[in-house]
């Protein structure tokens, strides 16, 4: 039996691909974090069974989904953005070997780096790096080394999990590290609640970003040396010269 791990983007009909929508229609049970399950209930109502566990109980949620699939149920595990980018796909694939006969299918979605970039313009139009500032599962030294390497490589950068209640100053620390290599006037952008009600966006310099409080619903974009602001949009051109 198959479990589909589905990237649902912002979780609305608008943000789902045709493939994700079809996989959701096909399944009997939708598993996921509470907030995303509420969104699925708005789309599918009583048609489906739902399975939720709190934010920190992800392994338990995966095991419940895999166990239901082993019993022959058609299960979808939803994950915001793309299921393969800091999402549930990896964990499901790691746990699946304990459930013989269960196959895991991954259905991609629009991750916040892409949907947030579209709101701002095209900040990821050339080579880019995606880095999470969450040190829940990653040592901070590793995050710091990646920030430095990304700046060294002149990548445009998308930062996920730039802050939380437990670590309100992580974006400030990250900007401090980036400022060792990047100019203070490097164009940057913030998008909050991408694709959801109350979406907000803002352009600012790296120096301003360093002193800007953000929350866990925000995705942060740092320009490369080529990134510029054109008519209020953040743009990284595709190349270093024009044809």
């Amino acid at each position: 039996m198959m479990v589909s791990v589905i990237g649902i983007g912002a979780g609305t009909r608008q943000s789902l691909t045709g493939e994700a929508m079809e996989a959701l229609r096909r399944c009997e049970v939708i598993a996921g974090y509470t907030v995303y399950i509420q969104q699925m209930q708005e789309l599918f109502g009583q048609e489906k069974e739902y399975l939720t566990t709190p934010m920190t109980r992800e392994e338990e949620r995966c095991r419940l989904a895999l166990e239901l699939a082993r019993q022959g149920r058609r299960v979808a595990m939803v994950s915001s953005g793309d299921a393969g980018v800091y999402g549930m796909a990896g964990l499901m694939l790691e746990l699946a070997p304990g459930y013989p006969g269960v196959t895991v299918e991954v259905i991609p979605g629009v991750t916040a780096a892409l949907s947030g970039a579209a709101v701002l313009g095209a900040p990821l139009g050339h080579d880019f790096a995606v880095i999470s500032l969450s040190d829940l599962l990653t040592p901070w030294e590793k995050i710091e080394a990646r920030l430095l390497a990304a700046a060294e490589g002149d990548f445009a950068i998308a930062l996920y999990n730039p802050a939380s209640r437990r670590r309100p100053d992580y974006l400030k620390r990250a900007c401090g590290i980036l400022l060792r290599r990047l100019e203070g006037d490097t164009p940057c952008g913030l998008v909050r609640q991408i694709g959801r009600t109350g979406q907000q966006a803002r352009l600012l310099s790296l120096r301003e970003l360093e002193n800007t409080p953000v929350d866990m619903f925000t995705t942060v974009f740092i320009g490369s040396s080529q990134t510029k602001i054109i008519d209020g949009r953040l743009v990284t051109p595709r190349g270093y010269r024009h044809e």
Copy 2:
């Protein structure tokens, strides 16, 4: 008047988001590269007008689309994958100021890094870098520096444009550079014609990848130090320890 620059993923109904589909339904004229326009004709037939220019005439294509919008037509510019990742969004935003009254809206899509990753498993489950090996608009030294920085930062890496007829050996060169920093047995993957008829995928080591010919329809994935193969799937776990 608005031009929508739309990421169409693999160009099928399955790969389009609800938002992209809606924007395509709304427009009168769809502009794009010949191959993608053929796909749009399969979806919309005679309902729409179509505007194509060859691969190398991208600036001309953008200018024609912007000029039609200036004249009051509702225009969509389609771009494979995500319009903002090596796509048409940046160029449209750069050219738009020459067309007063025309606004450019960017609608994100599933770029090959995400759709290819889903085919292989979850190779981009943690921090990653996206690098194009095309030196058409980027000096090769810059590409080389980015490869080294990405390896230095222990990022999982997605490579776009790994080869073309004019530069059949670029992937070999890139692997040679990565092998200065990465182990030869680093798990890697290839996906060709993602989401299209004849899709192919393969897992292999970095050392094997170095001597594997690929074409321009292939997206290449290089693992980080944490990436592993689990039951034939390429997986980069979300963190360095489990809860």
